[in-house]
Symmetry: C2
Subunit: 217 residues, 2 copies
DNA sequence: GTCTATAGGTGGATAGAC
DNA sequence: GTCTATCCACCTATAGAC
């Protein structure tokens, strides 16, 4: 029985299991069972386990890039664009809970990773884009100039990314349901993160000499 | 030949390999070789692979707790204490590069983790402590009251934690050496992160009506 | 305490029928 | 395209000599 949905089924199952258990602990047989197909089929479609894994990652990255880049076209003030980026990032990660887990595993794997190159490149691209954005804001006078834009980019991305990675711990702090924080909380957090970043970046209003209390040099 | 340093050697080797490759991809034989001892000895000292892993994690967590709690006794202003916490966290993570990797793996593993409970508890404790600290600052008027202290705690921890997790990507952005960012950069980043957080938290100076530009409600 | 040898189990991958 | 059966490599864990 030829079923055109078989490859998709396999990818879906593989994505779920790889994210939950990691590459090594996930068996081909388990993926087959989860997908409801015979495990020998995985070889027919994806040659071997390694390639299957990379396919999973690639599919995830494609949707990520597609969904964010459409949200980032709109110009506007630097503040508005930072805001849009943070929210787009939060939305995508919230919609694909498997992505942050897989991504973080790859990052943790450093050099021994399966798809380290793809992932590192993606992360670096996000950082770089944000970095430019912060520089623009500094040039326009909206953001404080003493901040290193590269560091700022890391700070901003971190807030959102880590929220999803550390979900189990966050769940305890927020006393939220076992399935992770509710969509409402995720949205609230994303808004908080954007505000937090903007408040940190904001140039002091040119009003007074007593600018801003105690910061270290 | 009885050698009292054997258990330590094993733990050191195991820590390195588990952090690099993860639990499943790390073999008992590889640990033995790395430690320069016969692999059967691992069973003599640690019963089985699972327990060895938990011992590695436990040792790491003990040093983490010890080093940070000593740094956190000192009272002071809320700003000073946030500062101290961020820097202590950065120092410990920088000194034990294996820790963030192992920790993040466990977090990613969600429920299927080997030592999930320990790790989640540790993370939650850190969050909770910071959370209280932010609340104190809000009570004293040093920090803005509209911020949810739990969200703030997540934002603050994230900046530092993610920096170490995403090292490979950060490396590209910062164009730093293959061994990861230099100590000087790590210190600089830690200072940035503390400032970033404090600037975001700081209550607006009670000077003017035009407080702080464009924040979303 | 340390080592050798090996049992026993698991999982990736292939051959070949349908 | 899909399934059954199976091979083979590898790894955990133990038995037992020294």
């Amino acid at each position: 029985m030829t079923d055109p949905r078989t490859p998709t089924r396999i990818l879906d199952a593989a994505e779920r299991l790889f994210a939950e258990r990691g590459f090594a602990r996930t068996t081909i047989k388990a993926i087959g069972t989860e997908a409801g197909v015979n495990s020998a089929l995985l070889y027919y479609y994806f040659t071997d386990k390694e390639r299957l894994y990379r396919n999973v990652l690639q599919r995830l990255m494609d949707t990520l890039i597609e969904r964010t880049s459409s949200r980032l076209q709109a110009g506007g003030t630097p503040e508005g664009r930072v805001l849009a980026l943070v929210q787009a990032q939060a939305e995508v990660l919230a919609a694909n809970p498997n992505f942050p887990r897989l991504m973080v595993r790859e990052l943790a794997e450093s050099d021994a990773g399966h798809a380290g190159e793809q992932i590192r490149h993606l992360a670096a691209t996000t950082f770089t884009r944000l970095c430019t954005l912060v520089r623009d804001g500094q040039a326009s006078g909206a953001f404080r100039k003493e901040i290193d834009p590269r560091f700022a980019a890391i700070s901003i991305v971190s807030q959102v990314a880590y929220f999803f990675v550390a979900k189990p711990a966050v769940r305890i702090l927020l006393a939220s349901s076992p399935g992770g924080p509710s969509p409402a909380i995720v949205i609230a957090y994303a808004r908080h993160a954007a505000n937090f970043a903007l408040a940190a970046l904001a140039a002091p209003s040119r009003s007074r000499s007593s600018r801003r209390p105690r910061r270290i040099p």
